[in-house]
Symmetry: C2
Subunit: 245 residues, 2 copies
DNA sequence: TTTGATTCAATTGCATGCAATGTGTATGCA
DNA sequence: TGCATACACATTGCATGCAATTGAATCAAA
């Protein structure tokens, strides 16, 4: 970005895809924060491609609900609205339970190898105290669980919800940094692994459900903490200023 | 399409949307059949706009999985692959049950008015023996049920599945035309209405589940019928021709 | 000081041009 | 006759140009 960068040229057909993937990554990791403007001209300069592939990338992200389009005014990173959190959790729980059930029912030994690796990667990320890595490996683990269920329709829908969950988590990211949380996260996915390995559908379901509930509670708790630490601000200074002057 | 058509010009910002809506309609009603080619040049001539809004429309339909993109080769109407039908039904059932549960829990009196209207519209369509109208009003009814549940996340995902269901139904559309089927369809959604009206969540769940199962069975039955009516065709005539010649 | 109209700059939405890629056909060779 | 190679055509993917719309800034008047 900052250095000249020797005119990168991409394979035909990959420019839009590359821009899309990069922007998606940055949105999910909050490098691009909700509300951040994404104007086509700047992006085309930044990625050194024309506006066409940029527009295409933005359209795809729009379909994933990761950005919002204000007609004739531009595109911004989509907000994660807290008011819909209850609705979100409701559906997320349903899908997560079902995804985990299917995994317990349909997993292969190949899936188990992958899942074990991803649990390990998660634990490593926890040890490294790297919140972004924790989120990423959490995402990958749950996605792999869903994929082990072998239902493409569910995978697609669940993946969307996982992305959304990731963005919710970023709201209370700091709470991940406390020692208490880290203790909780340690070995966090082992129980999933056991239930899926044992093909115990009901146990898998229960574990997934409990997992969602914990996410829900931690989220609300973190929000509460954030509010407690707040202090009240003056109302809009318009009227007072009039008087002062 | 066939006549000159006096150079329609659309509001700025609506061209792509209009093309997208029209193509979606034609795909869902099978005016455009699975596998049909959608080349940008022809479409731009047909809708009398440039390729840019056409490309944008196709990208949106791609995100909805209604079309498939063959890189550098073009775009075609997406196939509805029978091999995924079991996966589809599995998720569809889950979502339909949940949507109907939520409707029973959260419906307002305004929702009930709308639902009653849509049931009536469905019955009218059945009386008129108009398969396309039946499908359309069926779609609208179930979507309204989901909306009565007031969970935007579920509505979005369920809507996608409903579109997919609609395309599956088209495969056995002829079976809708038999007198037996019409008898079955008569007053088909009344039970939904009653359970939702009564806020009976468990009943709503059961009815939704049964509804899915019936859809599943009718679909398989119709497929079976189609196969029975088939007759075997000669293998590819290449070798035989060689001999004859 | 606030309200209103007017102009101006910024940004998108659409049109069009060009080059790359993949397909189908024709031709030459075994 | 069968197969490989080359060429031409069709179609996309990307670059660029232009005009419409929107928001902000400016200025005048109450």
């Amino acid at each position: 970005m900052t250095r000249p960068q020797a005119k990168k040229v991409y394979q035909r057909g990959s420019a839009a895809q590359m821009v899309c993937d990069e922007l998606r990554k940055e949105i999910l990791t909050h490098e691009l924060k909700p509300g951040a403007p994404l104007d086509e001209t700047s992006l085309s300069k930044r990625f050194d491609v024309s506006r066409s592939p940029i527009r295409e990338a933005l359209n795809r992200l729009l379909a994933e609900r990761l950005v919002e389009n204000l007609p004739n005014k531009g595109t911004i990173v989509a907000n994660v609205d807290l008011e819909n959190f209850p609705s979100f959790i409701e559906v997320f729980d349903l899908q997560q339970r079902y995804a985990t059930r299917l995994a317990a029912r349909n997993r292969t030994s190949v899936d188990m190898v992958k899942l074990r690796d991803l649990v390990k990667a998660f634990d490593d990320a926890v040890k490294e105290y790297d919140p972004l890595k924790i989120l990423q490996s959490n995402f990958e683990f749950h996605l792999a669980v869903a994929e082990a269920g072998k239902n493409p329709y569910l995978v697609r829908q669940y993946k969307e919800l996982l992305s959304e969950a990731r963005r919710y988590i970023h709201i209370h990211l700091r709470s991940l940094e406390t020692a208490k949380e880290k203790a909780i996260l340690k070995g966090h996915h082992r129980d999933f692994l056991e239930a899926i390995e044992a093909r115990d559908v009901e146990a898998a379901d229960a574990i997934a459900h409990e997992h969602t509930l914990k996410f829900h509670d931690r989220f609300l708790e973190a929000l509460k903490g954030q509010i407690d630490n707040d202090f009240s601000i003056e109302p809009t200074p318009r009227k007072p200023r009039l008087v002062e002057k």
